[in-house]
Symmetry: C2
Subunit: 203 residues, 2 copies
């Protein structure tokens, strides 16, 4: 987070960008990414097409910006929520619950991640984003080792396994294929992971 | 599996269909599904476009046929491999290993499932396919309960968690994002799941 106050110009730029982003996401969600043209975005955001290109050079750039913004916002929320929380199980619970409930506020971005994010052209970017979360998870496990709570081991595969379950649960919830709540899914995930890292489950 | 011998006509139809399917999958893998036209498929399969339409009415039907055939073949292999195998851990290991190594023989179909299978138009079909595997998994757990190996519980959420991990591991392996083998991934998955269903891990 920047500490320097933003200039009037920067505030206006940010505002315009976020308005365009908003319009684009609505169209992507409704018409699909491939079917949305930059003209449609300009019209929906009520800016001239020339103006649009001052802010985003392509649909791809809009997609990437939306995803990165959401991920960054989530990361900040998790860091804030984790302040003062101790214990591996508690820290893990906080992280999982935010990573689950957050997407309910941004279902369009999540759906884009699920579909576009898996296409060949976005795979590398998606993998990098997932890796960042896996590192957060591994960090929590390693803090548990330092605190003498759990034995040391290679946590990387467990981090990916947690990531996989998290994605699956989020997908089914956001597409209405499961009626569990983020809290219930978090409990199921913790029951699987805590014994695997050598912690008893607190049922 | 049908026991009645196939007619000469049926054999020819099956052969022609599988040739067209093969040609289509190669094109989908190379050009992408959206960019492949039925004309391209006809040309690649060396059949007239009119003939092509005797076998498949649309690209969608080709996609669905390819996916369903692969899934059916996998299911048969698993059933055969499971014959005579006892014990929850062993049965689970057999199922997981086939579900991992099978796709290495059919990477194009798997990549289609990963991308197209998650699009809105295919989600329901994909969810039904996944549900079938979750039921197989739950069946193995429930046999373990009947055999007195593990305590009864609601195995459905664990079945989905296993499915999620399986998909994630397969995706990373088939896209070259992980260098683990199906055997290593199976071991990691079992280490997470067996304690969760009340079985000690046999390390």
């Amino acid at each position: 987070m920047s500490v320097r106050p933003k200039s009037r110009r920067q505030v206006l730029t940010d505002f315009r960008r976020s308005e365009i982003l908003d319009a684009a996401l609505k169209l992507f969600g409704k018409k699909g990414f491939a079917e949305t043209r930059m003209d449609d975005v300009a019209e929906k955001a009520k800016v001239a097409k020339g103006t649009l290109y001052l802010y985003f050079s392509s649909k791809e750039e809009i997609y990437e910006t939306a995803v990165l913004q959401a991920i960054e916002e989530q990361r900040e929320r998790i860091q804030q929520a984790l302040e003062g929380v101790t214990g591996t199980a508690n820290r893990l619970r906080v992280l999982l619950q935010i990573r689950m409930s957050f997407w309910e506020t941004q279902p369009n971005v999540y759906r884009m991640l699920v579909t576009l994010g898996r296409e060949r052209s976005h795979r590398k970017q998606t993998h990098t984003l997932l890796q960042a979360t896996v590192r957060e998870l591994v960090g929590i496990f390693e803090d548990g080792v330092k605190a003498g709570e759990i034995p040391a081991r290679d946590f990387e595969p467990i981090g990916w396994a947690v990531m996989d379950m998290l994605r699956g649960m989020n997908e089914r919830r956001l597409y209405g294929e499961a009626d569990s709540t983020p809290e219930q899914d978090t409990a199921i995930l913790l029951a699987l992971v805590l014994p695997a890292i050598g912690l008893r489950t607190q049922a």
